[in-house]
Amino acid sequence: MTDADEGTDSGREAGEEQVRARLERHALPVLAAGTVALLLGIFYYPVATVFVDSVVVEGRATLSVFVGILTDPFYVGDLAGLAAGESPLSVLGDLLSPDRRLGVVGFTAYQAALSSVASVVLGLPAAYLLARYEFPGRRTLRSLTILPFVLPSIMVAVGFVATFGQNGTLNAVLGTLGLGEVDLLFTLEAVIIAHAFYNAPLVARVTTAAWESVDASAVETARSLGASPRRAFLDVVAPQLYPSVLMGAALTFVFTFGTFPIVLALGGFQLATVEVFVYQLIRDFEYAEAAALAIVELVVSLGLLYAYLRYEARHSVRSRGIRPLPRRPLRPPSRSLGDLLPRAGLAVYGVVALAVFVAPIASMVYASVSGPDGLTLAHYEFLVRRQATAAAFQVTPWDAVRNSLLFGVGSLLLALPMGVVVAVLTTREYRGRKLVDAVGMAPLAVSSIVVGIGLLRGLVFGVEIGGTRLAIGGALAIVAAHAVSGYPFVVRTVAPGLEGMDQSLVESARALGAPRARVISDVELPLVWPAVVAGAAFAFAISVGEFSATVVLATGTDQFTMPVAIERFIGRRLGPATAMGVVLLVVTAGSFVVIDRLGGADGGF
């Protein structure tokens, strides 16, 4: 190599350095612009095409549809009295009386609140176990906690009937123990347990991440200053967990406020929620009322999220957490009460968790291998035969698996930068940033039925530009829609850590000349890495479990995913659909383990 060559090389290097520096300088604004454009195109615009129907009726602007809903006792119960001019006190009296009327909106909020409480109660012990104890298979178990999140509601219904039904596993066990029978179906309790099945893992997952970010030295300092273990927990650890627990509860409320199929499958129409009526109205093309009702639904959900976000901003956790708390062995090191009691509590929790989380999934697996004459692999043979013989317009198992994985990875890769960018932008100091944050969470809170119709009208039907109709659909659109649904999780898991980031770290890095994007990738993200991985896992899970946007945007059977295949395989026998359900379970379980291992989300950075 000559000197001249070397000169060009170093010149090129300098050039590359410059390009990279410029890229880094502009990375944040560019990513932010891209995120906003994607959200507008794939979410806000399509949804707006539906929402506008609530205020523009037959070409005239009006609020009469909202007035109609807010004064209808069927929807708002005794609160309708307020609109009719009754005094707030007498309305309150009505609501506290035994024959109160909650209305559909009130009842929906009521069951969502109960579901949130149940999810926290069932989720916290899991977080405690996963964050504070060491045992074989812990990391795998933690990766799998998110599994319920991806299960289609029809599968959960099958599992729940088989577990909690009259002839279910639970009653069989209770009968063997001579404890009598419970009749859980079809009741509000069954619905709430099913909601906890979906959402307790969410609470567990985010709380575990927060717990693992608690810095051991802070606890040690408190202890060395004479605090009892209990005091140290309450003063040092717990305050770092509250935001995550509340976030889990708030998200659970939002999801279960929009609940739809599961409530009718395990409860029945007497428990119909707001979303049931949104569906019904849309089916009958009563778009004005449907859109208005969906907006009422959205306002309640976003209002709650906004309240949570205000709280989160005020209670940000100062995490400088480099060294997580050491885990204890699950096997009690001594026979002292202090060692035995928490483990005994966990054992009791383990039994409950077996019933609520494991039994329904096990029932589903069992249904996939049982036939009229006992155990059989016939349903899996059905899948194989389907793969070999299906017509082009029929869904095939392998295509569904492949598409789910591709879309899942694609939307994860898209949701991560989107989520990080929005988290960075909403943790800066400016007026109204929490409002922006709340609006950014809308994909979690808007009725999925409205989103489906919006995508149809806004994208699939397209817009006419100069005589050509520009329509959007296909695999890329599906990935984008999934990413839009999943990115709020990344924001929610990453933002609390950024909020509490020691600003001196950021400032000194900036003072040394690092561009903002560099600071984020080299300083801030590593400090909240478990949260980033948790967000990534959620983004993936949302994509894998997504149904309605997928079927709206797919342009062919070859773009269908596992949940769509399951829906197609439902028939008089549960076998084929449950076999596909087990495929979904196995594939996603493997994916979660891989995501967590690749992410090294065990403080191992």
């Binding site: 029809i154 093309f285 989103v451 149904f547 342009t555 026998r573 549960l574």
Partner: protein, 356 residues
């Protein structure tokens, strides 16, 4: 016959076998290689893709080989509403005809759209063979191609279903019946309409209040309720009178799959087909409709869709009637009776049943 508009709650589209038909615009592939014509047929997905059997693939093969045309199935996730939505938005309807609409679908089409979604069927060979009482479109657009009867299915090893509607109110049958949401399920809607038929528009809500007091369960979809019923959650479910065909096919205990026609009546749910106004291939579409009315094709559709033929002269296997039961007296509402009423009936029912 297991239509599942419920699960596919939102949106729509489209499992066509057209490749890359989205992106820009429409399907547009009317003329393809060697000038073969293409017929795009919209339908509901179990018609072409069900885990047991479905007529779609067979129909496509037979039709293509005889007519030198290409048949493309389209199954939007919200079925007929997809096309109503397109017409409302002023976007081309990309299919030539729709297969699988019933009377209240047609009412919804006409109440939602100002202009017609469907064209006149015209004179079709075979139309005169359609059974009396099944034709439901007074304007002659939709022609029935099969029918189902909604009935009770009960587990004879644990109960004997009552013979009358009032029998369902007795204490013996408290908590015995699982049925479906009338606004999202065909069977649930048929059962509710049957109660309107029986008790009148003034009386059906009272009957339902009594039914609710007797612990009836109304679940969201046929799938939910049939699987809960199969698990023994309750011994009676609203379903189709062809239930024993499946039970026989899967070697199940027939005693656990017994049919009851309340008051000796079954609610008929004829399924029709109609050509879209402005179809690219209206003539081919009508040829397809005539093809569907042929005796041998009628028999195949009935067997593969596990339903009953719409015509009197269908070629059915001689033992078909052994497991596929027809009610002594079919009942149904006509288009004219449903128009302007069915929406209110469902709405009033919902508001009464979900009172919180």
């Amino acid at each position: 016959m297991e239509r599942r508009s419920f699960l596919a709650a939102a949106g729509a589209t489209v499992a066509t076998s057209l490749t890359g038909c989205s992106g820009i615009g429409t399907t547009g592939e009317t003329s393809t290689e060697s000038g073969r014509r293409t017929l795009v047929v919209g339908t509901y997905s179990p018609f072409i893709d069900a885990p047991s059997s479905s007529p779609g693939a067979w129909l496509k093969e037979q039709f293509e080989s005889e007519f030198d045309a290409r048949l493309v199935w389209q199954t939007p996730s919200n079925e007929l509403n997809h096309y109503i939505e397109r017409r409302k938005a002023g976007v081309d309807v990309e299919a030539d005809l729709y297969v699988g609409l019933n009377a209240d679908d047609l009412v919804r089409v006409d109440e939602t759209l100002d202009e017609s979604l469907f064209a006149d069927a015209g004179d079709l060979n075979g139309q005169s063979d359609v059974k009396d009482g099944l034709s439901f479109d007074p304007e002659g657009r939709a022609v029935p191609f099969d029918t189902g009867y909604v009935s009770l299915v009960f587990d004879g090893t644990s109960t004997t279903a009552p013979e009358t509607f009032d029998g369902l109110l007795t204490e013996d049958h408290a908590g015995d019946l699982i049925t479906q949401n009338p606004s999202s399920s065909d069977t649930g809607r048929a059962f509710m309409l049957h109660t309107v038929k029986q008790f009148g528009a003034d009386g059906y809500l009272d009957y339902w209040a009594d039914l609710q007091a007797n612990d009836v369960r109304v679940l969201g979809s046929w799938d939910d309720s049939y699987s809960a019923w199969s698990e023994g959650e309750a011994p009676i479910v609203t379903s189709y009178s062809t239930d024993r065909v499946y039970a026989d096919r899967y070697d199940q205990n027939l005693e656990k799959h017994r049919i009851r026609f309340l008051n000796d009546q079954g609610y008929a749910n004829p399924e029709g087909m109609a050509v879209f106004e402005g179809a690219n291939e209206p003539d081919l579409a009508r040829e397809f409709m005539q093809f569907l009315l042929r005796p041998e094709v009628q028999g195949e559709i009935a067997v593969r869709n596990v339903a009953f033929p719409a015509t009197t002269n269908a070629d059915l296997p001689s033992d078909y009637a052994k497991f596929a039961l027809e009610p002594p007296e079919p009942v149904t509402f006509t288009y004219d009776e449903l128009q302007g009423s069915v929406g209110e009936w469902v709405k009033d029912w919902s508001q009464q049943f979900a009172q919180n």
